[in-house]
Structures are given as structure tokens and as C-alpha cells.
């Protein structure tokens, strides 16, 4: 039993599902797996391309976010992929200050329709 593992690489099956879901979006033209943790999403104009760094993080904190951005300067999105994943407010704020969006899977599925600041600040509508 190892619940409590914090930030690890996502499972390939989950990344594959993610790519398939993204390809179904009308704003997405192509999804390229640069590696198991890095996706390039080409989108229709005027939507800019997304370079997504994918993690499986039970809780993505500020420290890990800082390290990810420092080690991957070309990314503009960090995705906490697992449905159990969460990120902290501080992580989101730090990333936004660096022009990087932090999303959960369901948030990304909504944010992918937007670009620029609206993409960066995207928040999922609340469920009833």
C-alpha cells in the first residue's frame, strides 16, 4: 500500500486516454507525445499551442511546481492528471506568475477551449 506518494510520472495508459480525449476537442488539431510526461498540443487559430507537463500528484505543492517550471522552461501548462490529484492555491499562484497554467484533468478539458489570459485563469464551473 503506498498512498501518500506525492509527485510521480503518470501512467502511460492515462496519458494515452488524455491524448484521445484532447483529440476529440474541436480546438485541437494534433497531440504529440514528446515523452511520457510531456505533450505538445497543436490547436486551431487563434488558440496557441500547449506544452503540457503531466504529473500524478496527490497534492501538487508550491515547491514541486517551482522545480517543474525551473527544469522545464518551455512548458505553459502543468497537468495533475489523476482524478485523485489536487494542487494547492500557492502552486497555482506561483505558476500563473510564471505564465504557466496549473490544471486538473477536468479543468484542462474546459480550458482547452480558451487561450491567452482566459486560458491561464480558467476555473471549472461549479457543479450543482
Amino acid at each position: 500500500m503506498n498512498y501518500g506518494e506525492r509527485v510521480v510520472k503518470p501512467l502511460p495508459q492515462a496519458v494515452r486516454q488524455l491524448s484521445e480525449r484532447l483529440m476529440m476537442k474541436p480546438t485541437v488539431e494534433n497531440v504529440e507525445c514528446i515523452n511520457n510526461q510531456l505533450l505538445k498540443v497543436s490547436r486551431t487559430a487563434p488558440h496557441d499551442d500547449l506544452i503540457i507537463f503531466i504529473v500524478d500528484a496527490y497534492v501538487l505543492g508550491e515547491g514541486d511546481t517551482f522545480e517543474i517550471i525551473k527544469n522545464n522552461p518551455t512548458i505553459n501548462t502543468i497537468l495533475a492528471l489523476s482524478l485523485w490529484n489536487q494542487y494547492t492555491y500557492d502552486a497555482k499562484t506561483l505558476a500563473r506568475e510564471n505564465g504557466v497554467a496549473v490544471f486538473t484533468y477536468s479543468e484542462l478539458m474546459g480550458a482547452v477551449y480558451y487561450y491567452g489570459k482566459r486560458y491561464l485563469d480558467y476555473v471549472s464551473p461549479k457543479k450543482d
Binding site: 500500500m1 503506498n2 498512498y3 501518500g4 506518494e5 506525492r6 501512467l11 495508459q13 492515462a14 486516454q17 488524455l18 480525449r21 500524478d56 500528484a57 496527490y58 497534492v59 501538487l60 505543492g61 508550491e62 515547491g63 514541486d64 492528471l81 489523476s82 482524478l83 485523485w84 490529484n85 489536487q86 494547492t88 492555491y89 502552486a91 484533468y105
Partner: protein, 236 residues
Amino acid sequence: MDFLTSTVLSGIAWDGIKYAGNITSKYLKERLGDWIVNDKVLEELASKINDLPDAYKKNDKFLELAIQEDESLQELLRNIQPKTDVSFKDNVITGSTINNATGSSTIHSPTTNYYYGQNQPPQVKTKFQVKSELDQLLAENAAVFKMYGPTPENTSDLTTRKHEAWRSMASNYIVPNNEKIIKLLEEYIDLLNFEEKIILMEFKLHSEGFKDNQTREERIAEYPKFPIAINSVLGG
């Protein structure tokens, strides 16, 4: 009048069953040296316990229940008296220790018959009994985690809704079980070696954080993860 209880007998019998699958009168005789019991009764005890359904031979608690419910065994037990040189204090044998099958722990067993529903004195458990309870609680937690937690199998599916049940399941099952584990191991802290006491401390810190995170809208990332070594406390 004090006589041999189901608890004492089940503890001794379980120590034998878990290693050999059954018990013999010779085995019982060696471990009931502080009791007045003849060979014929020992034979009957061993035979009746061996004949109990396998379903009751899963752990010491089930075995104790089976012995309590077997009227013929209870009749035999009522006639087994302690030897006179055994002294009693607060219903616990203080002049006698009964080594269990591993030789690693002792039973200080209450010897008064307490029927179900009456107030029972605190019972001192063997190391094996404590380990069995610990394993049971950890197994329950593992089952909940496997079903609803972020296991690789669960997280690889982006269409599941198990994550929506995870918090309530964790709060309803894992959190209370963690508290039981801590209470149990703190009560029997003397059975733990130094490394195991450190593991218990790590488990306590994890448990507090895990509990807190279940009620937080925003979890705290820095709480320690589950110390896997807790599974091997009191022997793997």
C-alpha cells in the same frame, strides 16, 4: 472459583494451529502446566478443538468464539482448576507465564469466567494477538484503498468516479482504523523494538495528516506519506 477461560485456551490453541494446523494433547500439556488437568481431558480438548470447522481457525478471535459457543468444551473448561501455587492479583495470574509457541511473548491471562455482556477486566494480549489485530486493521485499510484509492489501476482510468467516493471512504474506514492501530500499538508499546517505535511515530504523523486532509478543501502537500514499514511491525 477460578477456572481456565476460553480466552486463555484459544490463545494457546491458536499459537499451535497457526504453525502446525492442529494441536495435540502433548502440546496442551506443556502449556497448561499451571493447571490441574488430566491426560484424558487434554485428549478431549485437543480433539474437540481440532474438530472445529476450519472457518473458525482463521484467527484467535474466531477460535475464541467457537470455544465459547461449544458447550462441551465449556464443560471441560469449567472443571480445570489452577494449581494452588499460582497466585492471583486482580483476576490476573501473576505467578505464572505461559510461553506461546514462538517463545517470544507471554500470556498473563484473566482466569475468572466473564460471560458475554458482563463487564470484562482488561485482557493482556500476546504479541501474536496484537499482530493479528494490527494485520486485520491494515488489511481493511488496504481493501478500501485498493477499491477507491489512487492505485495505479484506478488512476489509469480517466472515466472512473471512484475518486468521488474516496474521501468519504477514507474518513469512514481508514481514519478510524488508523486511530485503532495507534491505540493498540501504544497500549502494547513494550512489544515494539526501537525501530518499530520510530515507525509508529511516523505512522502517527501520517495518520494525523491523512485525517486532516480528508476534511480540507485544499489538501496539505507536505504531510508524510503512509509508512509502508508499519506492515512489518511485530514481525513481517
